[in-house]
Symmetry: C2
Subunit: 356 residues, 2 copies
Amino acid sequence: MQQQDRSPSIQSRAHLTALACAAFEQAGATPEAAADAADILVEGDLMGFHSHGLRRVIAYAARLRRGSLNPRPQMHGERLGPSLMRLDGDNGLGPAVAAEALRRGLDLAGETGLGLVGVRNGSHFGAGSPYALRACNAGMVLVAGTNAIRSLAPTGGTEARVGNNPLVIAAPARRNPHFMLDMAMSIAARGRIRAARERGDPIPQGLATGPDGLPTTDPAQALRGMMLPIGGHKGYGLAVGMDILAGVLTGALFGTDPRSMLQQMDLPQGNGHFFLAIDPGRFMARSEFRARMDTLLNELLSTPAADPERPVRYPGHSEQTMRALRMRDGIPLPVGLLRSLEALARGETIAETATH
Amino acid sequence: MQQQDRSPSIQSRAHLTALACAAFEQAGATPEAAADAADILVEGDLMGFHSHGLRRVIAYAARLRRGSLNPRPQMHGERLGPSLMRLDGDNGLGPAVAAEALRRGLDLAGETGLGLVGVRNGSHFGAGSPYALRACNAGMVLVAGTNAIRSLAPTGGTEARVGNNPLVIAAPARRNPHFMLDMAMSIAARGRIRAARERGDPIPQGLATGPDGLPTTDPAQALRGMMLPIGGHKGYGLAVGMDILAGVLTGALFGTDPRSMLQQMDLPQGNGHFFLAIDPGRFMARSEFRARMDTLLNELLSTPAADPERPVRYPGHSEQTMRALRMRDGIPLPVGLLRSLEALARGETIAETATH
């Protein structure tokens, strides 16, 4: 029953990080991997990515116990060039692998101006924005992406054969919140469809198809069907492009092969990722780059708004605003999820299907 | 009058390349720059990008004569790291500068596995696909982009402050046509709106706004207004992301500063570009990479189609199919444009506003 309790409980970042950390360690993870994964997931909740935040501790812990996430991975980095590396994640905790890839990319960029790290044997790594923020805080520009379980149909097709593969582009500013684009290729997130189903509302035309590949406004049909990509063939193409960079190139699984985090719990997911870090300090003084970023972002923020109540923003602005508030006031978490985290942190097992 | 003649004339690639080359040389360009620019624009027409093909010879030649394209540029490459370079295009012919940046990127990738070339003092460089094809033919993966004149409104804004900045992602296959994504960030191209106006048809809701920033179905209003980006805030964010990589980072003009190719003929455009080349041979045997690409592309091509008459394709497929036909049969060009090219190739001047 506790899992049905969705009333919010406000918790500090530190407390939630400690809980998630303990949950991962109880499931067998090393302290280092547990700390990385806890930090990335808490960052997700800080910035409002609830679906890619602490609720993922449950599936990650279950996978650690089953061994489809490797509790003791031997991550192996191969230097493929002065600014190029492949990291084999050895199916370790997704965010721990991705955070290691990011660190190596930032290190390469610090050494050589540029660092591209391709990852194989990766897994679901949470939201992209926590990595974007780490890169921006290190003064670096980041382009990153991952492949994912197939969920989109190629344009004109009736079967899901392409992942809703996200792309991150981030760059640090000086006075403004950093620019942090973190987007999947579907027009709408599945969470929006689930919310419509719970309210009993139809969804707008053009967001999703049913399982037959035909357009639908019925959220139940849409959840069994496929989300539609942004700009039709453009979003489809972008999603495939991400898979080429993250999956085909790195030696990871690609196309229809990456496994579902929740439906194929006994199999490693086999995802590929890429992290490209660029040091703007090679092109100009870092302070000059940040000033140019502020000029760009100020132009956007000062655009006359269609609705004066809704000023123009840019990607990452509202997420960083929310983050600042939650750093000060705490993070609201459904009580059911909090109880699950507490149970996992004590070493108890909980229903793997618990959703919050 | 000849400029109104839009009946097609079929010409060989070689003849059109020679004409464009002569037109650029007559306008003062070096033989090397003229050859690069002619080849890239003819490639545009070969692949069906009429709006980014030989019709651009007219504006480029006019700019060369006015000096806003530098006929004798001193391109300067600064090595910023083992795999990192900035190229100052010195306002040379757009495709010649971009082709040089691509060559340097491919060279860096050949030497070091990876090459990122950021360009400043660039100009309109035609379509992206010709560069994609060159990279694929060299066995390399390419990610590239440019900034452009402001033409999109930030989401929620009523003023054009963001370029319709295109993105290219390309990778070579073995048996299939290469994957070559070449997309701008608007849902529809302006050419589609112009065609609707010429037919006297309304345009679908959701493609564009009038100059007041409000949605319109009137193509005349739309042409004075703004195109809408794919996925709303996502396309807006992607366009800004491209500007950061191509403009802010490289030291080029950015934001609302790049100049219009056609409206500000006396000013250099000041665009920035980026070309990121990756050698897949550093990750695995090149033949293995191409085989993996074929596996991915075959999965897409074999997706059951909603309409059996319209099989599923992927980005670059139809363009390369058309290219093969036109290599064999010749390129159809409006007669008016052909006459203009012939006049320019003889050293005559023509109306700079000629459109074909």
